[in-house]
């Protein structure tokens, strides 16, 4: 029903647009110069005026109607519903709806039949009311807009303001979604911190949430506070990230230097996209590459020289993650190195510097802030990466900096905590939100830092 109306409105929109144009030309006596706004804008003006209010009504109706109907049905059948618990009430309404509008009915009784009748008649009324209102809004808009079209009318201003409103709305969606996610993280984390003190969480060195008391609450708090220490997870995350950066920074940076200053145009045209394909490989593919190819290889290699390597090692996960973030480092660094003006390279060459001297002493120092921010963005990407570490790093929350041992990361533990059946008020489940918040704060801080560096860099070259 909703989509039928939306399609009809679209038709009206197009028709009003065409008519508005025609009308504008007509009132101008086909002399474009007497019109304040071009005919297109008059078309847009009429189209917006006729359809936008009706469209808003349509959406509002779709949001509000089901709730209104439920409330009215409940108040109309108060004596039947009395004494029902919340799930029972929901089942009652579901069945009544199914009887009224078609669908699978669990079981029906007289009360539900009666509620279904109310549903049907209310829906009928709602439909008529909606249709009348929408037709009225469309016709009113057309009538008003049609009258308003005259050469001096500032249709362009109206259309541009409406478009601007649309743009604001779109960016607001992204912003409010972010705010919503952050708020939900914060509220769930607060519930967690009510059970586990925040200091025990952030500075605790023991992590074994699986041994938490079921239904852990304040009464079990004493035992539970000792097992939610995030430090081992942070150490594991940092270890794997450090390995990844040790792999990615030199390879990415040096390949960026090659691409920007040494590669001939045809080589660059092929090599750069190929490098960027690395970024397009799904992380789960990297994950099984790490778990099935790299990890056994490292273990075999370690055993051959007499080292004990666990089958899920930080080294394997870190190496593969490093390969994954190479394109971030190389692509971003390549951009900033290219942004160093050619005049600086010429100036250096003109003084008799070799190409490598020019790169080391002029180009890289000039590009350094940009390179740093590229590295930081790569780091924050590595910290948040999940799939590779889930598959290759293991679950044991060892607090170690030995890359040959199994470690676990914040992201892996979030996955583990939320897989399977959970209760939403247990410390175990809520810990995932606290970890998410922790991770969010770390990457946010890194990103802010990177953006500040980039900003400083921009000021230098404007």
């Amino acid at each position: 029903m909703f989509w039928t109306y939306a399609a009809l409105l679209l038709l009206v929109f197009v028709a009003a647009n065409v008519y508005g144009r025609f009308r504008a030309l007509q009132v101008a006596g086909h002399q474009l110069s007497v019109l304040h706004s071009r005919p297109t804008y008059h078309g847009g003006y009429l189209a917006i005026l006729s359809t936008l209010p009706a469209f808003v009504l349509l959406i509002a109706w779709a949001v509000v109607e089901p709730r209104m109907l439920d409330m009215m049905v409940i108040s109309a059948n108060a004596e039947v519903i009395e004494g029902l618990s919340k799930p029972e009430l929901q089942a009652f309404l579901r069945d009544a709806r199914a009887i009224a509008f078609g669908g699978i009915v669990a079981f029906s009784d007289a009360g539900k039949e009666q509620a279904a009748e109310v549903f049907a008649s209310l829906a009928q009324t709602s439909f008529v009311l909606k249709s009348v209102l929408m037709v009225g809004l469309v016709l009113g808009g057309l009538w008003y807009g049609n009258r308003a079209i005259r050469p001096t009318m500032r249709a362009r201003h109206f259309v541009e303001r409406t478009v601007m409103g649309l743009l604001i709305l779109c960016s607001a969606v992204a912003i409010f979604t972010t705010i919503g996610i952050v708020l939900s993280l914060i509220f769930e984390s607060l519930m967690f911190f009510r059970q586990i003190p925040i200091l025990d969480f952030v500075f605790g060195t023991h992590w074994s949430p699986q041994s938490a008391f079921e239904g852990a609450g304040a009464e079990h708090g004493e035992a539970n506070t000792k097992i939610f220490g995030a430090i081992p997870l942070l150490v594991g995350t940092m270890l794997i990230t450090a390995i990844a950066i040790i792999v990615a920074a030199p390879i990415g940076l040096l390949s960026a230097i090659y691409l920007s200053d040494y590669a001939s145009t045809p080589v660059r045209a092929i090599a750069k996209p190929v490098l960027e394909i690395l970024a397009g490989i799904p992380t789960v593919v990297y994950g099984f590459f790490a778990a099935l190819t790299v990890a056994p290889f490292i273990r075999g290699w370690g055993e051959s020289i007499g080292l004990s390597v666990s089958s899920e090692s930080a080294l394997a996960a870190g190496l593969v993650m490093g390969i994954m973030i190479i394109p971030f480092v190389s692509s971003l660094s390549d951009d900033v190195i290219n942004a160093v003006p050619q005049s600086l390279r010429d100036g250096s060459a003109g003084l008799g510097a070799t190409k490598s001297e020019t790169i080391r002493r002029v180009v890289l120092p000039a590009a350094l802030p940009g390179i740093v921010s590229a590295l930081i963005l790569a780091i924050s990407r590595a910290i948040g990466e999940t799939m590779i570490v889930v598959m290759a790093a293991g679950l044991a929350a060892n607090m170690t900096v030995n890359p040959l041992e199994a470690v676990t990361t914040v992201t892996v533990q979030i996955v583990t905590l939320l897989v399977g059946d959970q209760e939403f008020d247990s410390a175990k489940t809520l810990a995932a939100f606290a970890l998410g918040l922790l991770l969010f704060c770390i990457t946010l801080a890194l990103n802010i830092f990177a953006l500040r560096v980039v900003k400083k860099y921009r000021e230098q070259y404007d």
Binding site: A349, G350, L351, P365
Partner: protein, 279 residues
């Protein structure tokens, strides 16, 4: 073209250094000589066989309308055209008696002898001191820190910038005004003690006062260096140069004493250009 072709320890410059310098008909030393220089950018020919001499301790101005090949010729003199992939140079360019396009010549050494100042001031994003010290450092000209400071100070002095910046040598070179930046670039070029300084429209991005200072500086530098300057301003050519060469459509139309070129040009095209009929 590879930048570092010289592998033998004995470079071409050392072997020929004893040959007597070339001289002009008037007995003036010829620092650089171009013979039948042709330059191609891909399929397009930019210079059609140019013969031009640069006399020692004089300022030679290259003038002509845009696209006439004067900058291209200038960039041939220290092989800055090497950085352009599709550029090809034919003919001979001699520095003293060395062919600069000889494969045995190390382009790095060449550019240390033939320095360049560019159209737009391009100080490195380093301190004023580091900008000037850059060349001496890479060529190992200073034995000690004191040596280096001495070179920097004297270069800045010769570029007429020392008094203005002596208290803030640690500040970034990019923070100076346009005219100061250009003089910093000249100081940077002087610091490696080149024999020839090439200037590609060095004043086109400067205001009149800064221009006057740079022109004054060019005139002073003539004592110690040989200077080739490309300029769009005929007044500037007349003010700073001893000899002027007029380029048109990739050919050298006329070359002679600046005075003669501007008062008594032999070629009709030169006459037309300097009186402002085209270009």
């Amino acid at each position: 073209m590879a930048l570092e072709m010289t592998t033998d320890t004995e470079s071409a410059m050392d072997t020929t250094i004893s040959a007597p310098p070339a001289v002009s008909a008037e007995g003036e030393t010829l620092k650089m000589r171009g013979r039948d220089v042709k330059v191609f950018y891909g399929d397009k020919q930019a210079l059609h066989g140019v013969d031009l001499d640069v006399r020692k301790n004089q300022v030679t101005a290259l003038i002509g309308p845009s696209g006439c090949g004067k900058s291209t010729f200038l960039r041939c003199l220290n092989r800055m055209n090497d950085t352009i992939d599709i550029c090809r140079v034919e003919g001979d360019i001699l520095l003293d008696n060395d062919d600069v396009y000889d494969p045995r010549i190390d382009v790095v050494e060449l550019r240390a002898r033939v320095g360049m100042v560019f159209q737009k001031p391009n100080p490195f994003p380093k301190s004023i001191f580091e900008n000037v010290a850059y060349g001496p450092r890479i060529h190992g000209l200073a034995q000690s820190k004191a040596d280096l400071e001495e070179i920097v100070a004297s270069s800045l002095q010769r570029a007429g910038l020392f008094e203005e910046v002596k208290d803030r040598l640690d500040e970034p070179g990019t923070g100076l005004s346009g005219g100061q930046q250009q003089r910093l670039c000249i100081a940077r070029a002087i610091a490696v003690s080149p024999e020839v300084i090439l200037m590609d429209e060095p004043c086109s991005a400067l205001d009149p006062i800064a221009t006057a200072k740079v022109e004054e500086l060019i005139d002073e530098l003539r004592q110690n260096y040989t200077i080739v300057i490309v300029t769009h301003s005929m007044q500037q050519a007349a003010r700073v140069s001893q000899r002027t060469a007029f380029f048109h459509l990739g050919t050298l139309v006329e070359e002679g004493l600046t005075n003669d070129i501007f008062t008594n040009p032999k070629d009709q095209r030169t006459q037309d250009y300097i009186t402002g009929r085209f270009g």
